[in-house]
């Protein structure tokens, strides 16, 4: 991780000196254990604040829309680069406006899982081989890294950048082959159970829209939830209002979501959002062989069709 930090800083210095970029979007030290903060190095000396580590959990591609029209560099994991590709496919981003510093990713650690597996407030963590040592006021606990990954990271198929201008380090080996096992598990449950699960997950939503705001693909000028004509869903934290929000949000990301899990990490109520988008991702993969943001210049699946494909809605 230290080597990556150094390499990122070096590349950032170079780009800020003669790469013609206005800023390097990366991560800086956070104010809490297990946190980092998105950071914008605008001057060469600010490159020293950039870091890399197991808690770089945000999808930084989200910030690119705020730099529209200006050339910037971005520190990008596999999922961040997929978002960049997807944004390019939707004409939200020009390839020559972003310099991608690609970083192979071993998966980010879920700070909430860590917190739940120790007997007090976490004050520091460090990695030792494949383990993470977690320390607090009166404890020190050793936990296997693999068990602490975010679910979206544990099931990741593209930990290595799919597109980059400079790729740091060596690509990591893929540790997962079945990304949608949890979706299949849910599919196999009776309808009533699925409805109850959805109602209870959506029911905790407080409509803070953090899921939308952290998402690189949620760039609509006006979100359907804010429309006044028509007002698509009920305004409050009522069952219909909350389910309407979750259905609309997830479905609008059909064929556009890159499985980064940023929405779920941002959610203060720890709502299972990945299981919603995972289903849609699984469907477009199985029905149309499409994976978002993997192939440059591939059109979004709902923008194209094959005349001969199914389902054949005629015969039913």
């Amino acid at each position: 991780m230290r080597e990556y930090t150094e390499a990122i800083r070096q590349e950032a210095r170079r780009l800020l000196t003669d790469g013609g970029v206005q800023a390097v979007i990366g991560f800086a030290e956070g104010t809490l254990p297990m946190r980092t903060a998105p950071f914008f190095a605008r001057k060469v000396e600010e490159a020293e604040r950039l870091i890399w580590g197991p808690y770089c959990e945000n999808n930084l591609a989200r910030y690119l829309r705020e730099w529209k029209g200006k050339k910037v560099a971005i520190v990008a994991k596999g999922c961040d680069t997929r978002s960049i590709v997807a944004l390019m496919a939707e004409h939200q981003l020009m390839r020559d406006q972003v310099a991608i510093i690609g970083v192979p990713c071993e998966g980010m650690l879920d700070r909430r899982i860590v917190a739940r597996r120790v007997p007090g407030e976490v004050l520091s963590t460090r990695q030792e081989g494949q383990d993470v040592i977690v320390e607090g006021l009166r404890f020190s606990v050793r936990l296997p890294r693999r068990e602490l990954l975010y679910r979206s990271c544990a099931t990741c198929l593209h930990p290595n950048p799919v597109l980059s201008d400079v790729l740091l380090g060596e690509p990591v080996a893929i540790w997962n082959e079945d990304p949608y096992a949890y979706v299949r598990e849910m599919e196999s449950k009776p309808a009533q159970e699925r409805a109850a699960y959805f109602a209870s997950e959506a029911g905790r939503c407080i409509r803070c829209y953090a899921c939308r705001q952290v998402c690189p693909m949620c760039y609509c000028e006006e979100c359907f939830v804010d429309h006044t004509t028509p007002r698509w869903i009920e305004s409050g934290v009522t069952p219909a209002g909350l389910q309407g929000w979750q259905i609309g949000r997830a479905y609008h990301l059909t064929g556009r979501c890159v499985d980064c899990g940023a929405c779920e990490r941002a959610c203060p109520e720890e709502i299972d959002l990945v299981y919603l988008n995972g289903k849609l991702n699984k469907d477009v993969r199985e029905l149309y062989g499409f994976e978002t943001g993997v192939q440059v210049d591939e059109l979004p699946p709902l923008a194209v069709f094959l005349p001969e494909e199914g389902p054949d809605f005629r015969i039913r």
Partner: protein, 339 residues
């Protein structure tokens, strides 16, 4: 009046309260602990200092029907939803959340234009607090006029002595609870122990911030590029404000048709881009810069002007839960140091 109650008796006592009161307390929900209504004393989680959601929902529900309306022959008839039937107890509120409650009192329970929905719930509620023996690293109540054992706003205040809770009644409502036979006399030593706990807790907490300087700097920084820097990583979600125990902003919306329906109020936040958006398309706070500035200025400047109190109580929820680790403590430090 001060007494104490043994921990072995506490559930029996709470069970007896459930007969007469609706009880709200820190309790588990999904994978975390939040403030919600409970139906059995065993649901209470005693060692959670900062609940995921603050208890403000008890007094200012996130979604609340103000009235229903129905079109009649001679106009529209409205029926208010302001009545509160059942007495309530909020059990185990922390001093920071109580301080926030006092700020909300100053906003809603005013002599003129009294918010009856809030005031009625407040009047029917007994607030039982508990001191914080071991504050978290995100706690900073002492920086903003609070303290881990501050008793303002409580009717009854508990101190965890290990095997018992020292219980001090601060109002008539508190004394009513203390009259229960589950409480027995406390001794001098218990009060000494409580003082020692407070002293120990304070060691973990920061010094008071220089509120005057911060307020002055805020007034000077209105047009400064400082805010462009601060807001750069802000994603414009509502986590910090919706989960803030002080933030009280709301929206009013009709649900229904012209013939009949309900007028509803929902929490709202200054961090949303549509919050100040006018029908004409004009937005007086068009970007993150204005919205982040508004949050800080409201908390550390405008509340002081209008209510005479700070709008931040140091609970640390926004610090813990911000998706991009935008830390209000750091911003305030920078404001204090700004030249």
């Amino acid at each position: 009046m001060t007494k104490k109650i043994d921990k072995t008796d506490i559930n029996a006592f709470l069970g007896s309260l459930l007969q007469d009161y609706a009880l709200y307390a820190p309790a588990r929900e999904a994978k975390y602990v939040t403030f919600r209504e409970i139906h059995a004393p065993e649901e209470i989680v005693w060692d959670c200092l900062v609940t995921r959601e603050p208890p403000k929902d008890v007094f200012l529900p996130q979604t609340e029907v103000l009235f229903s309306y129905i079109r009649g022959a001679d106009g529209v008839v409205v029926q208010s939803n302001e009545a509160v039937e059942r007495e309530r107890i909020v059990w185990g509120m922390r001093p920071c959340d109580a301080q926030a409650l006092l700020v909300q009192d100053a906003v809603f329970d005013t002599a003129e234009n009294r918010d009856v929905y809030y005031a009625n719930k407040r009047a029917k509620t007994t607030v039982v607090g508990i001191g914080c023996n071991q504050p978290l690293s995100t706690c900073f109540c002492t920086a903003v006029d609070g303290g881990p054992f501050k008793k303002d706003g409580f009717d009854l205040f508990l101190t965890d002595l290990g095997d018992a809770y020292l219980s001090e009644a601060l109002t008539g409502k508190g004394e009513k609870l203390l009259a229960s036979p589950f409480f027995h006399a406390s001794r001098k030593a218990d009060e000494k122990a409580a003082q020692a706990l407070e002293k120990a807790a304070l060691e973990h907490l920061p010094e008071a911030m220089d509120v005057k300087t911060i307020q002055k700097h805020l007034d000077e920084l209105v047009a400064s590029p400082f805010w462009d820097e601060v807001q750069a990583s802000c994603i414009g979600c509502g986590v910090c404000t919706l989960l803030c125990p002080v933030c009280h902003c709301f929206d009013i919306v009709d649900e229904g048709t012209a013939a009949c329906g309900q007028r509803v109020r929902n929490w709202d936040t200054c961090q949303y881009c549509v919050y100040t958006l006018e029908a004409s398309g004009h937005n007086p706070r068009p970007a993150g810069r204005e919205r982040v500035r508004q949050r800080l200025m409201h908390k550390f400047d405008y509340y002081l002007v209008n209510q005479g109190v700070l709008g931040c109580v140091g609970c640390g929820r926004c610090v813990q839960l911000c998706p991009v680790n935008l830390d209000i403590r750091q911003i305030v430090d920078e404001i204090g140091a700004a030249k």
